[in-house]
């Protein structure tokens, strides 16, 4: 048998007779009851403050919500995606497949870049809505929208192709629910030394090393970071 500390139960008289505290509890639930009864007789939607009458009455979704994906078009209606596949590589669930292609003759003005994605598929059954793809996208072409009702009757319909992703965008645009362009993140520039020392850690040269490597490896990376993911 495990050891158990001896616990002495010291009750006040009020606690001892059950009924006093139960009466207090009854008073509290009664208060809520009356409040909500009054609220539910008020006119208009959403009168009981904590309940949303779901299909008719929806809560406000944050503009930066990570819901169903969409492929953005720019103001001229050109596809932003250049098919670079950064999103596919950044995806931890490996749910994106992108094929890069050249726009056909005479169709160049449909695309913002020199290249385009000839196919773009997102397997929504695998997707975990982490937002890594939109963070990785250099052109801000793929974003996660505000749609959250993603159930389908067939599994095949859950694999979103390019057409569906663009139609998602058009729908969101029509409803005025586009994602705001990413705001720049204020970044701590390297020369600035930290002011608050919480952890006693040597700054180390690793950071500089990593940075160098990255700069050497990809010229674009720093610029992308400056632009930063949205939110």
């Amino acid at each position: 048998m495990p050891r158990r500390p001896v616990v002495k139960k010291e009750y006040t008289l009020g606690e001892r007779v059950y009924l006093v505290e139960i009466a207090k509890g009854l008073r509290l639930t009664w208060k809520h009851f009356v409040f909500n009864i009054k609220a539910s007789f008020r006119k208009g939607p959403h009168t009981v403050p904590t309940c949303w009458q779901y299909p008719e009455d929806r809560r406000e979704i944050a503009p930066i919500f990570r819901g169903a994906h969409m492929l953005q078009l720019n103001d001229k209606g050109q596809e932003l995606c250049v098919g670079c596949g950064m999103c596919a590589r950044a995806c931890p669930a490996k749910c994106i497949t992108v094929k890069r292609g050249k726009p056909a003759e005479g169709e160049e003005d449909r695309y913002a870049g020199k290249t385009m994605c000839s196919s773009f598929e997102i397997d929504m059954l695998r997707c975990i809505f982490c937002g890594n793809c939109e963070k990785a996208c250099p052109k801000n072409a793929i974003v996660l929208g505000q749609d959250y009702e993603l159930a389908e009757y067939e599994p095949g319909l859950c694999i979103y192709d390019k057409k569906r992703l663009i139609s998602n965008f058009l729908k969101a645009k029509a409803e005025g629910r586009l994602k705001p362009p990413p705001a720049p993140i204020p970044i701590d520039a390297p020369p600035v030394k930290k002011k608050t020392a919480v952890k006693k850690m040597a700054p180390g040269k690793t950071k500089a090393k990593g940075g160098e490597r990255a700069e050497k490896g990809k010229g674009t990376s720093v610029k992308e970071e400056d632009k930063g993911p949205d939110k």
């Binding site: 139960i22 509890g25 909500n36 309940c51």
Partner: protein, 346 residues
Amino acid sequence: MADWQIDLIKVVFIWAWALLIAVVMTWVERRASAMMQDRLGPNRAGPFGLLQPLADGIKLFTKEDIIPERARKILFILGPILFALPAFSTYAVVPFGDKIVIGGKEIILQVSDVNIGFLYVLALSAIAVYGMVIGGWASNSKYSILGGLRATAQLISYEVPMGLALLTIVLLYGTFSLREIVLQQQGTFLGFLPNWGFFKQPVGFIIFLVAAYAEANRVPFDLPECESELVTGYHTEYGSMRLGLYLFGEYVNLVALSAITVSLFFGGWALPYVDMGKFLGPVSYGIASFLVFFLKQAFFLFLFVWVRWTVPRFRYDQLMGLGWKALIPLGLVNLFITALLVQLTT
């Protein structure tokens, strides 16, 4: 009309009425609990969701009826019936109104005024336990049998304090007939209080109420079906309308218990200080007394719901402790004092 026809009408009426209240109770329970918990509750089916019980009923009726493999088939089928029937039968002795005069014929609003109405109530509530324990046993499931056993122990334990509380009422009024008791509760007591059992026997009332909660398997005494421990206790393996009978029987039980509470402790159909019979016609008086009775009953029905959504649940040994170590001694002392007082005053 012959007497038997009147009786038949009364029986049919009171059964239908009890059923209706029980049905509405399922709705009240869900809506009221929702309101207490800052929710809305079912409000889609019909106005205010009033048709929800109907939808539930249709669902339960049309579901597949599953009898688990290696369950005791006959007992499995018998369980819910044994549970629901006694609850209905209790109404036979409940005086749900005074009397009504139709076509010069005086009809007592009670199915039958048995002179041992009390014993009948107690006996029927004792039968209800068989429904649970048989259902639990026949299901061939450990959770069910635990629930059934808990139900047995609980109901048997709480019948004693209930009986003790009822005995004080018997001592006070000197009769076993519920109708007689209600009639004796008219008028005032000490000059200003209504002559109700509640004011004469407050301790007895509390004991009776607690025991009634335990008999009805309501929170805080819902150990037999305690969904967090025993899944749903004795009816874990039940589905379709058999489950419906259990759930429904519980509400019918509630209605019966609150009816008995009203007739024993709250003056039945009579209004305090006012004699309705003086200024109402014979027919309207009958209806009015019925409505008064119903309103009082409705309060207790709501109290059942209200308490349920306020307090946590007992543990098995604590429940037994409360019954045997608190309520029974209290009931005995109360009985003794009442007996003494009755002896001294008469």
